[in-house]
């Protein structure tokens, strides 16, 4: 019986979460859901950072995670403001319908 968790399991989990985020990013039609998939991807990456920080016995990984969180916050704020503006103009949250380019 294992006494401790092998580090590769954390990385595998990170990969799983990341690919789920990618799948949501590609296949969902609601803008907000796409955005949340992006947040999911960022979280997976954060997990990866902290894991490697444990592996290399450095605290720098934690700091990267911290900065990722800050940037994610800023990005979420601005992105949601953009979504609000798009909704005001197009009255739809479907990303397929916001394109005004002729084919």
């Amino acid at each position: 019986m294992l006494q401790a968790v092998p580090i590769s399991w954390f990385l595998t989990l990170s990969a799983v979460l990341f690919s789920l985020g990618v799948a949501g990013f590609l296949f969902r039609r609601n803008i907000i859901t796409v955005f949340m998939s992006i947040e999911l991807m960022l979280n997976a990456v954060n997990l990866s950072f902290v894991t490697f920080s444990y592996h290399h016995k450095e605290v720098a990984g934690h700091l990267f995670t911290f900065f990722v969180m800050v940037v994610a916050a800023a990005e979420a704020a601005v992105g949601l403001a953009i979504i609000l503006t798009v909704f005001k103009n197009r009255a739809t949250l479907n990303i397929d319908d916001v394109s005004s380019m002729k084919n």
Partner: protein, 612 residues
């Protein structure tokens, strides 16, 4: 010795007049142009005075122009007796013609341009004569061809003038091709293009090589000196102003071929086959051109064909080994032919542009100075002693007789024809009744003073300047038997020609037209210059132009090259429009492409650097 001043002064004249001449007054242009040539002439005299007994030659080396492997061409000038003769003719007669041109061109546009081109021509001609190697001679050769083109096409707004300029340049180019091939052969066999080296080694080469070189040099001379089959440009070159015809197409440029073959006498004396060919070409051209000159109605065309014919005589001299006699005829021809042309220019000026003989007549009372000067030229060209042409022509004919009697007899007959057509021109112009409608007036002194000087030279130049004597240190000795019978025969031929012309045009003025009507077919043939231009046009010009248009223009240029260039542009556009489809406006497809790109980068990094 500062030989470089001789060609440099006219070059300076060209540069000054060419760049600033537009703002100069006529007087200043004249001073620069005439001054440069006259000073050049003075420097030639000074050079001669400084050379002592003229038995040694002077070479001046200025800089090495080309140094490439075995090829070493220096910018060298070389003066020996032959060069002195040529220098005196070029600068002396050139100065007189420059002075004449002040009067002739006084009312023409582009005054400064004319004198600039004329000075440029003098520069190139002097380079040709002074050059100590074939390449420098070729530079002058090409340069005078260029100036000929510029000056023939001087009235560039006239289509026939520009066409004539093109024709001159292109036909000359064909000759230059032969010259270039000769230079290649010379270099290959003698590893040098210097006259001294080549002539030193020439006796050691095989006769075949020397014959080939001689023939190729002759091709070049045929182009420049208007021999068969490349003479067709010279009559059309009369489209240029008359001083140009006098200077370039009578006295100096067309004699460059004779000078070049005379300079290469070492090659020719060891290649008798080539010399025979030259003599045959010379006599054929002389006879051929003389027959055409019989029927021409434009006064300048008569003299143009006369020039071709007299050049043929010079080549007879070269071909018979009488190089000194050929150069002698070159000198005397410069005097009397330049005089004939300048006089014709004076007549044309007097008649305000009329050039057709049928509209002239009776001018001897109205333009006396011109008439008397031209009478001396007439005397000289007919070969009547003691005028200049007699001595030189006789020397050539005597040498021809020694070489091949057939050439002599044809030459004599041609001398008769020469006397006939020049007399015809003189009678139609100066005698009888005036058939035109203009008011003839005498030319200003700036025009008739050079005519008088040339007239005096034509009269005494033969007797005074015994050129073969002067040149016998340069050329191999020619044993000339003093055969008085030959001399008498040639004088008689000239006299018969003059009398026949007098009978047909002065005493029985309708005779010429009746004869022309009676022998209408030969007359038409001669009048149309034997349709040579038409034949050339059909056989050479049209196929080349047509082939060029079809194959080179439409086929290769428009089809292949434009196809490639446009094709590249077209393919770029196609690739671009393929990439355009990426920008669909569909956000999800963008996202998909981002992902794809990211995966691709990781894969590439993995393959390249290992999965680290």
């Amino acid at each position: 010795m500062q030989l470089w001043l001789i060609p440099l002064l006219p070059l300076l004249g060209f540069l000054i007049n060419g760049i600033f001449g537009r703002r100069f007054s006529k007087g200043l242009i004249n001073t620069v142009a005439i001054g440069s040539v006259v000073f050049s002439f003075a420097w030639v005299l000074k050079t001669i005075a400084g050379m002592g007994d003229l038995n040694s030659s002077v070479t001046e080396h200025y800089f090495t122009w080309i140094q490439s492997g075995a090829l070493n061409i220096g910018c060298d000038f070389f003066v020996d007796r032959l060069t002195i003769v040529m220098l005196l003719v070029v600068t002396g007669v050139g100065s007189l013609i420059h002075i004449y041109a002040i009067g002739y061109m006084a009312h023409e546009g582009g005054y400064y341009r004319f004198f600039a081109y004329l000075n440029l021509f003098m520069f190139f001609m002097l380079m040709l004569v002074l050059g100590a190697n074939y390449l420098l001679l070729f530079v002058g050769w090409e340069g005078v061809g260029l100036c000929s083109y510029l000056l023939i096409g001087f009235y560039f707004d006239k289509q026939f003038a520009t066409n004539a300029g093109n024709k001159a340049f292109i036909v000359n180019r064909i000759g230059d091709f032969g010259f270039a091939l000769a230079m290649f052969l010379i270099f290959r066999n003698f590893q040098s293009l210097d006259f001294a080296t080549v002539f030193h080694q020439a006796p050691g080469a095989t006769e075949q090589t020397l014959t080939l070189i001689g023939l190729l040099l002759m091709v070049g001379a045929c182009g420049k000196s208007a021999q068969i089959p490349l003479y067709v440009w010279l009559p059309d070159a009369m489209a240029g102003p008359t001083p140009v015809s006098a200077l370039i197409h009578a006295a100096t440029m067309v004699t460059a071929g004779v000078y070049m073959t005379a300079r290469s006498w070492v090659i020719y004396t060891h290649a008798p086959g080539a010399m025979d060919v030259i003599a045959i070409i010379g006599v054929a051209t002389a006879f051929f051109a003389a027959t055409i000159g019989l029927a021409q109605n434009d006064i300048k065309k008569v003299f143009a064909y006369s020039t071709v014919s007299q050049l043929g005589y010079m080549f007879i001299g070269v071909g018979s080994g009488a190089f000194g006699a050929a150069i002698w005829h070159l000198v005397t021809h410069a005097f009397f032919k330049a005089l004939l042309f300048l006089g014709a220019g004076s007549v044309i000026h007097a008649l305000s542009g009329e050039q057709d003989l049928r509209n002239m007549g009776g001018l001897r009372t109205k333009i006396k100075f011109t008439c008397f000067s031209m009478i001396f030229a007439w005397w000289a060209i007919s070969g009547i002693p003691p005028a200049a042409g007699f001595y030189s022509k006789d020397a050539i004919l005597a040498a021809a007789y020694a070489h091949s009697p057939a050439i002599y007899w044809i030459g004599v007959f041609t001398a008769g024809l020469t006397a006939f057509y020049v007399s015809r021109a003189m009678f139609l112009t100066f005698f009888g009744e005036y058939r035109g409608h203009e008011h003839p007036h005498e030319s200003p002194p700036v025009m008739w003073v050079p005519l008088v000087i040339l007239g005096v030279l034509s009269l005494v130049g033969g007797a005074v300047f015994n050129v073969p004597e002067f040149l016998k240190y340069v050329f191999p000795a020619v044993v000339e038997p003093e055969n008085h019978a030959l001399v008498m025969i040639s004088i008689a031929a000239g006299a018969i020609g003059i009398l026949l012309a007098a009978w047909m045009y002065v005493w029985q003025p309708g005779m010429a037209d009746k004869l022309a009507a009676a022998f209408s077919a030969p007359y038409k043939l001669i009048y149309s210059k034997y349709f040579v231009d038409e034949v050339y046009d059909a056989t050479v010009v049209k196929p080349v132009v047509g082939g060029s248009r079809l194959l080179l223009w439409k086929g290769i240029d428009a089809g292949l090259i434009d196809g490639i260039v446009n094709g590249v542009g077209g393919r770029a556009r196609d690739i671009g429009s393929a990439f355009r489809l990426l920008q669909s406006g569909n956000i999800r497809s963008y996202a998909a492409w981002v992902l794809f790109g990211g995966v691709a980068v990781i894969v590439v990094m993995g393959i390249a650097g290992g999965l680290r």
